[in-house]
């Protein structure tokens, strides 16, 4: 059984903060298919369309019939632990700093044998385990063998915590805690055991229903933050930037207009100012300190979450200018992810379908509840994903976008 994590002792200020080292990160093009699936929280393996063989590691051709007609298919990951090894030595700097490290060899029920990181609660072989694909600190897929059934405190496993961004005992900044998603998220993150939640708010003279109650939570500290105000962002980063372990950017400006539904560019500009420039301002001020703290002990800087929209993938004309601002934010988030990569900080992009709020009032259901968006963000932090599509609409659009972006564009153009 995993020993529950205890609150880490305060940092000794005379010791040097460790520089982040990463697990081996280079992958061949074909192996990146594994990472692409892990990014969505899935284990996918190559399956031969001709002979049906499931293979690992990924290759250019089927290892049995040499067919090149290979397809990535979702696997449930169940299998049998054949053997285990505990490393006491490694030439890889990342593992050397984290020894001992437990590995296991697992025969998947779908065929192949894989070497995987072994959760502490996996019992001695032979035993049943379940393989998950997590995005590791190098941003690549890592196979983790977990016990088949949940065990107490399993998220606190030392090795697993190196591959997740669990908010437990971490300090979290939520940039807009006033919005419905922001409010739900503050509560969810507090419940998940965060040490401290900075709840950002702009325009203090506007008090939305429900916001007052957040300040009664002992872990919550309200901080003024307006992403349109460069100096305010800089000032807050100066105050708390060196302590933020997880930053969740919930700030969002959403109006529902296309190009000709509204005169002028004021609305579009306000959307860009928060959704795009707001992210840029935040990233310029907060990312440097987070990059420096990628290996700062048990509660290091681990994750940056962007609340985007499924409209970022393909323009939804009734909300046309908003879609464009979210597409810009998505592009910038990709840049941020690349710049965070050397520090091992994971950038998680969240693409919800229409959220059940006042700006989506006129859209037909289903709309996703703010609390569900918050729950899925928390799940991504605790798991291994970096792209999250909460809600049925988001899942559906995503599937159609993957299938054929041009067809989706035409379908969305027909929606009024």
């Amino acid at each position: 059984m995993t020993r529950p994590l205890t609150r880490p002792p305060r940092k000794n200020p005379i010791l040097r903060t460790r520089v982040p080292n990463l697990p081996p990160g280079s992958r061949s093009r074909v192996t990146l298919g594994l990472t692409a699936a892990a990014a969505r929280g899935r284990l996918e393996l190559q399956t031969c369309r001709d002979c049906g063989t499931v293979q690992y590691p990924p290759r250019e051709a089927c290892r049995v019939c040499l067919s090149q007609r290979l397809e990535w298919k979702v696997q449930n990951g169940t299998g049998e632990l054949l053997s285990e090894t505990t490393l006491h030595h490694s030439n890889e700097l990342f593992y050397r700093e984290r020894l001992p490290w437990r590995l296991g060899m697992v025969r998947l029920d779908c065929g192949p044998v894989v070497v995987a990181h072994l959760h502490g609660d996996c019992v001695r072989p032979p035993s049943r385990v379940c393989i998950h694909a997590n995005i590791d600190r190098a941003g690549q897929a890592a196979l983790v063998a977990m016990p088949e059934k949940d065990t107490p405190n399993m998220a606190d496993d030392r090795q697993l915590r190196e591959m997740t961004c669990d908010p437990k005992f971490r300090k979290v900044l939520i940039t807009d805690a006033k919005s419905p998603v922001g409010q739900s998220l503050v509560e969810a993150i507090v419940k998940a055991g965060a040490d401290l939640v900075w709840a950002g708010y702009a325009e203090p003279w506007k008090k939305p229903p429900g916001f007052e109650r957040l300040s009664s939570l002992p872990q919550v500290s309200l901080v003024p933050l307006d992403l349109t105000d460069s100096r305010a962002v800089k000032n807050l980063a100066g105050e708390i930037g060196g302590r933020v372990d997880i930053l969740i950017n919930t700030a969002d400006h959403h109006r529902n207009y296309g190009i000709n539904a509204r005169e002028g560019i004021e609305v579009a500009r306000a959307e860009m100012d928060i959704n795009y420039f707001g992210l840029l301002r935040l990233a310029q001020e907060f990312a440097p300190a987070m990059r420096a703290r990628g290996a700062d002990g048990q509660s290091s800087a681990v994750a940056w979450v962007n609340l985007l929209s499924i409209f970022a993938l393909s323009n939804f004309p009734p909300h046309g200018t908003y879609s464009a601002s979210k597409a810009a934010a998505l592009s910038l988030a990709q840049c941020l992810r690349a710049e965070f990569a050397p520090a091992g900080v994971r950038v998680i992009n969240v693409f919800p379908g229409p959220i059940d709020d006042e700006w989506n009032q006129a859209l037909p259901p289903p709309q996703i509840a703010p609390s569900r968006v918050a729950a899925e963000i928390l799940e991504a932090l605790r798991g291994g994903a970096e792209d999250v599509f909460p809600g049925d609409v988001a899942e559906d659009w995503m599937a159609r976008w993957r299938d054929n972006p041009k067809v989706l564009e035409r379908e969305l153009a027909a929606m009024r």
Binding site: W205, T228, D229, S230, R231, R255
Partner: protein
């Protein structure tokens, strides 16, 4: 003669016999902007982005780009701002004759009333009472409503919003009509975020100060401060908006030239003597 007046002015300024009082709030990102329903067009708050600061972006100099609405911070309202003034001649910031930008001011002290009633509305009776003490409001002067609202440095208290909207003092409909029609004032100035009261949307017509002042070519000044440093009469206000083409208003520096307290005291002495004399004359007549 005019030369002598101007020379006297600069001499008095240099000697401290005339004080310059700054009636302007600092343009800062923290200063609140007017609140409208979110689906409406919004006034930009003041925002500032650094261009360079003796660094790689400009090694020897510091400067910024800023953005804001025509109606951000301490600002001027031109007649074209309101629908009632849209067809008037010379109604925008670039066409208003420059001589309008320097004018005497009457300061109506409503600070006691505003302290107990955030929705206080200035009435004709209140103005007439003021006139009994300080004389008739001269045509072409600014009416500055002192409420001490600018002393609310916390933006939440300054905005004073609740579920029914904003609660800030301002002029009532009849008072505005009186000032426009019977006193021919130049304009109306306030310390709150608008020249109209916070609840003025519910007056008839909505926003009467905007409606009648701008409808008859008068101006507005809002977000003023330091009105408590002005005498009830005798101050001269310099309020020149930026020369924005077709501008509906503009942030600006509002200055008041005020006789120094010593000078005021001397003037009061003279005034008392004069009014005593007047009273005596009246008594004699009776």
């Amino acid at each position: 003669m005019s030369n002598a007046v101007l020379s006297q002015l600069v001499t008095d300024l240099a000697a401290g016999r005339i004080h310059v009082v700054d009636l302007t709030q600092t343009l800062s990102p923290d200063f609140p902007q007017i609140v409208l329903p979110p689906e409406m067009g919004q006034a930009w708050p003041f925002r500032i982005e650094e261009t360079s600061r003796y660094d790689a972006r400009g090694p020897g100099w510091y400067w910024n780009n800023f953005s804001c609405s025509e109606h951000t911070g301490t600002h001027f309202d031109a007649p074209i701002h309101w629908i009632s003034g849209r067809h008037l001649p010379d109604n925008s910031t670039d066409t208003i004759p420059a001589r309008s930008f320097i004018a005497p001011a009457c300061v109506i002290d409503c600070s006691r009333e505003a302290a107990t009633d955030a929705d206080f509305l200035l009435t004709v009776a209140f103005l007439r009472q003021w006139e009994r003490r300080h004389g008739r409001i001269p045509a072409g002067s600014w009416i500055l409503m002192r409420t001490d609202w600018s002393k609310r440095t916390d933006p939440v208290a300054y905005q004073n919003l609740d579920e029914t909207g904003q609660h800030t003092p301002g002029p009532g409909t009849e008072a505005v009509k009186f000032l426009v029609d019977e006193r021919q004032v130049l304009g109306f100035g306030s310390e709150a975020i608008g020249t109209d009261a916070g609840q003025a949307f519910h007056l008839k017509p909505p926003y009467p100060c905007h409606y009648y002042m701008h409808g008859s070519g008068r101006f507005g000044l809002q977000c003023l401060t330091n009105l408590d440093l002005l005498p009830p009469t005798g101050a001269v206000v310099i309020a020149a908006p930026l020369k924005i083409k077709d501008g509906s208003g503009s942030p600006l520096r509002v200055l008041a030239l005020v006789p120094s307290p010593d000078t005021i005291a001397q003037a009061n002495e003279r005034g008392k003597k004069k009014s005593t004399r007047k009273r005596n004359v009246v008594r004699k007549k009776r």
